[in-house]
Amino acid sequence: MKLQRHGILACLAVTATLALAACGSDNNTSSGGGGGASSGPSSAISCAQGSIKAQGSTAQGNAMTAWTKNYQSACGSATIDYTANGSGAGQQAFIAGTADFAGSDSPLAQADQPKADARCKSGAAIHLPMVVGPIAVVYNVSGVSGLQLKPATIAKIFSGKVTTWNDPAIAADNQGATLPATKILSVHRSDSSGTTDNFAKFLSKTAGTDWTYGNDKTWKAPGGDAEKGSDGVSAAIGKSDGTIGYVEWSFAQSGNLKMAKVGNGAGEYAELTGEAAGKTVASAKTAGTGNDMTLAIDYHTTTPGAYPIVLVTYEIVCEKGTPSSSLPLVKSFLTYTASADGQAAAAKVGYAPLPDEVRTKVASTVASLS
């Protein structure tokens, strides 16, 4: 009967699908033609065993992927799982005990710090700056490249005061360039994000008169196009003319988007490079007490060549009181990420390396975790 024949075919198809269970491997150490980012830092890693879980910021997602790859390639019996589902989710998971450490773009809120401390039973929860993520101002205007913008102009664009690309404010920043009369479509994030928070913080500190919306993880200014995730912003910029937005550097690179030069406190227009972003972080002051290394970024920095819009992602970890089953691997992994090799690996995938003095301080704090 036809039905029987079809039924058998269907059963075969289902069985084949299930037979997939027989073959499959985790062995991905050979990365072939992808230009494997690491040239064997394995000599510098002291391995630990076990498996740990971490959650948190999407901004440091790429860095974490590169780090886990390098660490796990060198230390086969270790597993580090980082789920990039947002700083808030990471903090909550850390407090609840389902994550061994959390990645967060902003420090714990005052109300949450005691809860995190309680999780660490015998110590406090500290913030260790680990990743410097520059925020790029990306744009897509046909016929325009090498755009330069002062913070005040950026504020005016994103708050809707400047509406066309040939506005005098933009022309003043770009002497001699021909700008079209296209309407500006500014793109921002629809979801809560640490990137929005830091970008808005930059605008409110450097262009306070033009940017009156303060800073929050949610975008507050009216108008513009809202996109979910940096991938959404990147896609929106890529496909429409006349758009401008803000994304992490790694997204600007992978989307091949043009980045604007931003005016810094020294009066120059700084191009986004790892070194330039590092200079801004080097001038930051430590706002935390004791081993806590929360940083206060100086967006007005007068260091020449510094790119001022940066975001620092912290790893929130217990100073004392990490469960003994996960402590060795947490320490070993964070030692790697805070090492020169680790930071160099992150620099290859769209981040700026931590300035040396910050890095050494972080490394010594990690060594003292217990």
Binding site: T58, N85, G86, S87, G88, A89, Q91, Q92, A109, Q110, A111, D112, K115, K183, L185, S190, D191, S192, S193, G194, D216, K217, T218, D225, A226, K228, G232, A235, K239
Partner: protein, 348 residues
């Protein structure tokens, strides 16, 4: 109880003589009858079966009550911290350390707007396809069509979201511009601004997503119409369409309403597709093509990752509101169905 079209079983004497009459004949179910003859073994299995089904039904109640308790427990602290009126305030800033204010006015209205529009777009098309599948199309075409509908059902919501954001976006934009140009005097199409993501885009994608649910279930319902009713109508000289109107649709109305309700439930709770295709603003307007639109579930998807304790509680409070909306909508639907059930021959 409906009339049984088959004469016979009720009038024939019991086949085996000498057995005692059943003791339990009270209507315990809509179809009456405690079942067969009282054999001890049968009663054992009978009660076991009945117990199992009752327990299964009760599980649903337990889960719902547990979810409701969970939602209320998590929402109350945030609601207490809210400095604005939760039901009438439109913006969403629960994580502001000094002045947390949030309200569901825009979100709830936006959810209802998007879902109702999606239903309006999807239901006529779904019913048309279901009728086509069961009564109009040649058998081979019908199975191909059924395959197509199954294919649509198999596509995950994130793919619809990405497709809507990257590909469907342009046609909708052009359509919005056209609507405004020629019908801009209707308040629904009043916005002349740059067209981005709007309620129209979100609802259209949502309609495409709930189409397979309504179509599949409706076609199953239509398939079950007794051939006798259909043939009787045709024998009386009805055209095909009249036959469908007289025999198929009324018989299937409760089933149809159930499938529409399931589609609506999916639409109300759709998270990721709407997060990608709605504009995520906190305003409400009946202007369908304006850049904006938001829904409770999409808001949860957007804000959850970065929310602190109060933020989470606020999002859960909005989930509670969605619960309430679903309850009201379903109550209305049940009322409509209850009135109709007496006229139909199905088991009620």
């Amino acid at each position: 109880m409906s009339q049984s079209p088959i004469a016979g079983p009720a009038e024939t004497a019991p086949v085996t003589a000498g057995l005692a009459a059943p003791t339990d004949l009270g209507p315990t179910g809509p179809l009456g009858g405690g079942g067969g003859l009282p054999s001890r073994r049968r009663f054992g299995r009978e009660s076991l079966f009945r117990w199992f089904t009752t327990a299964s039904g009760a599980v649903v109640l337990v889960v719902i009550v547990a979810i409701a308790i969970f939602l209320i427990a998590k929402a109350v602290p945030a609601l207490r911290a809210d400095k604005a009126n939760f039901l009438t305030y439109k913006d969403w800033f629960p994580d502001d350390p000094t002045n947390p204010k949030f309200g569901i006015a825009a979100l709830a209205l936006g959810t209802v707007e998007a879902s109702v529009l999606a239903l309006l777009l999807a239901v006529p098309v779904a019913l048309g396809i279901a009728l086509c599948l069961t009564h109009y199309a040649h058998r081979r075409v019908a199975s191909a069509l059924g395959f197509v509908i199954d294919l649509l059902a198999a596509v995950p919501s994130i793919v619809f979201g990405l497709w809507g954001r990257d590909y469907f976006y342009k046609p909708v934009q052009d359509f919005s511009a056209w609507l405004h140009r020629y019908f801009g005097w209707i308040p629904l199409f009043g916005s002349g601004g740059p067209y981005g993501k709007s309620v129209l885009l979100g609802s259209a994608v949502l309609a495409i997503m709930i189409l397979p649910i309504i179509t599949s279930l409706s076609s199953e319902v239509f398939r079950q119409t007794p051939k006798m009713n259909e043939e009787a109508a045709l024998a009386l000289g009805a055209t095909k369409w009249e036959m469908i109107r007289m025999a198929v649709l009324p018989y299937g109305r409760p089933g149809l309403i159930a499938s529409v309700m399931l589609g609506l439930g999916r639409a109300l709770g759709e998270t990721i597709a709407l997060a990608l295709t709605l504009g995520a603003t906190y305003t409400f307007s009946i202007d369908l093509i304006e850049n904006g639109g938001n829904s409770i579930a999409a808001n949860i998807a957007n804000k959850f990752g970065e929310a602190s304790e109060t933020g989470r509680g606020a999002l859960i409070a909005s989930g509670l509101v969605l619960f309430a909306i679903t309850m009201v909508v379903n109550m209305i639907a049940r009322l409509i169905v209850y009135r109709r059930r007496e006229f139909i021959g199905s088991a009620a």
